[in-house]
């Protein structure tokens, strides 16, 4: 795969991720039924529920992992890709890409959480958890950002328009 193709794929993945980010946060990711009360929960709604239950450390972890990290990752990758080919701030871009690469997978917390709750939280008539389409969009956003970071190799940051192979 050439670097030009890698760049195109990375751009495509980031744009797809940004588009999917909207339904991922607007649509409910799960529906919790507790003693007959059906409650659809978005990603942010899940955080609010944990916070309201007094579990603010958990709420903070999920908020950081599910809201802040995906947003920062998409924003950072967008900036890095927009700056591609320009001979400025290359060291900063390299550092940012390294940070994005290392923290990116933490946003999968919500996907695993959904998987565990949907699998285990089937307690008959008393309570149940059902996965909703928002969860699919959320997972797709994460996969897109992971792939974008994978396509855009660190060495490509040092390429300039005048000397693409440098």
């Amino acid at each position: 795969m050439t670097d030009a193709t890698r760049l195109q794929w990375a751009q495509a993945m980031v744009v797809t991720g940004i588009v999917l980010y909207v339904p991922a946060n607007v649509l409910p990711v799960m529906t919790m039924t507790v003693v007959g009360t059906v409650e659809p929960l978005t990603v942010l709604g899940g955080v609010e529920e944990l916070y309201d239950s007094g579990l603010w450390p958990m709420a903070a972890v999920v908020f950081l992992a599910s809201i802040v990290v995906p947003f920062l990752k998409l924003a950072s990758l967008s900036w890095i890709l927009l700056m591609h080919g320009k001979p400025v701030l290359q060291r900063q871009r390299g550092n940012l890409r390294r940070i994005v690469h290392s923290i990116g997978s933490w946003s999968m917390v919500d996907v695993f959480l959904l998987a565990i709750l949907a699998a285990v939280g089937q307690l008959g008539a008393l309570a149940g958890v059902k996965a909703e389409p928002g969860g699919f969009f959320f997972a797709a956003v994460l996969v897109c950002s992971l792939l974008a970071a994978e396509f855009y190799k660190p060495r490509m940051i040092w390429q300039t328009t005048s000397n693409p192979s440098s």
Partner: protein, 297 residues
């Protein structure tokens, strides 16, 4: 001029220099070399992590379900539905049957997708609250293949009576001694995403780090070591064990709101594996290992 080495790179380079200096300065026996002793700790930790990971994956061995291989008797009976008038397409009510358990009559919903009747312990009464101490009880489990759930507990010999009809439509009561599974633990099989991120990718990632790090420590150019080093970088973001551990903690907190959740030994292994994975990924530097391997040429 190439980019300046990062702080961790500098530390690791210093460490390698110290190791080499130790190798030269101390005795010729590699086992007494201080540097080598330090290096050998990493593969050992990784090996322990892999072993722990594999141990954590093993579920209770043996599915001693007494109904496996069961073949029906020649005489068939038909269970009467006690509310069976609305059993039709579009009907929303569950069909129910009446069962007498050890002399006490109960009415249960029929779970048609399951392998039998499923009843809450609160319906069955305090007799089944402590199954391991009941006469004739022994451990067992059932896997429900459609929902990927495991029910673990104790098989308890119980006398059941069913209100049935025979082939001629004559009502009668059939009594039999059968084993019922008193479920004490409910668990679930992870989905494909979890299987890849928690089972396959971490195993490959840790095994690949172990392979490359061992080659570096033992100063051997093992086959495909450079390819394996590339694989490590590719797999690193997919090693999701630490993420899974956090998600498990949050899930347990949420599930604890609905019912009682107990921690088991597997959770400790997941925690150890998560810490080892994080340390291994943080300590591993492909460029430095490759430099070391190149120096052997």
């Amino acid at each position: 001029m190439g980019p300046m080495p990062r702080k961790t790179d500098r530390c690791f380079l210093t460490y390698i220099k110290v190791s080499v200096a130790n190798s030269r300065a101390m005795s010729t026996s590699p086992h007494t070399c201080k540097g080598r002793k330090r290096i050998a700790v990493k593969p050992t930790l990784l090996a322990l992590a892999i072993a722990g990971f594999l141990s954590g994956q093993i579920v209770e061995a043996g599915d001693n379900n007494p109904f496996d291989g069961y073949s029906a008797y020649a005489n068939s009976y038909f269970l009467d539905y006690v509310n069976g008038t609305s059993f039709a397409p579009g009907g929303t009510s569950d069909v129910q049957v009446s069962v007498t358990i050890d002399g006490t009559s109960h009415t249960f919903n029929v779970d048609t997708g399951s392998r039998g009747l499923y009843a809450s312990s609160t319906e069955l009464g305090p007799h089944f609250a402590d199954p391991q101490n009941l006469p004739g009880a022994y451990p067992g489990q059932i896997q429900l293949t459609s929902s990927h759930r495991y029910n673990s507990g104790y098989w308890v010999p119980t006398t059941l009576s069913f209100a049935v009809k025979d082939q001629n439509g004559v009502s009668k009561t059939v009594t039999s001694s059968v084993n019922i599974l008193d479920v004490t633990t409910l668990s679930a099989q992870a989905g494909y995403t979890a299987t890849y991120g928690v089972d396959i990718a971490p195993t490959l990632h840790l095994a690949a780090i172990w392979y490359v790090a061992s080659a570096g420590c033992l100063r051997r150019r093992w086959p495909y070591v450079h390819r394996v080093a590339e694989l490590i970088e590719m797999l690193e973001p997919w090693n999701l064990v630490p993420v899974y551990a956090i998600a498990t903690v949050v899930a347990v907190v949420k599930l604890d709101m609905m019912g009682t959740v107990d921690w088991k030994a597997g959770a400790l292994w997941i925690l150890v594996l998560s810490l080892c994975s994080l340390c291994a990924a943080e300590a591993f530097d492909r460029e430095l290992v490759e430099e070391r391997l190149e120096a052997l040429k």
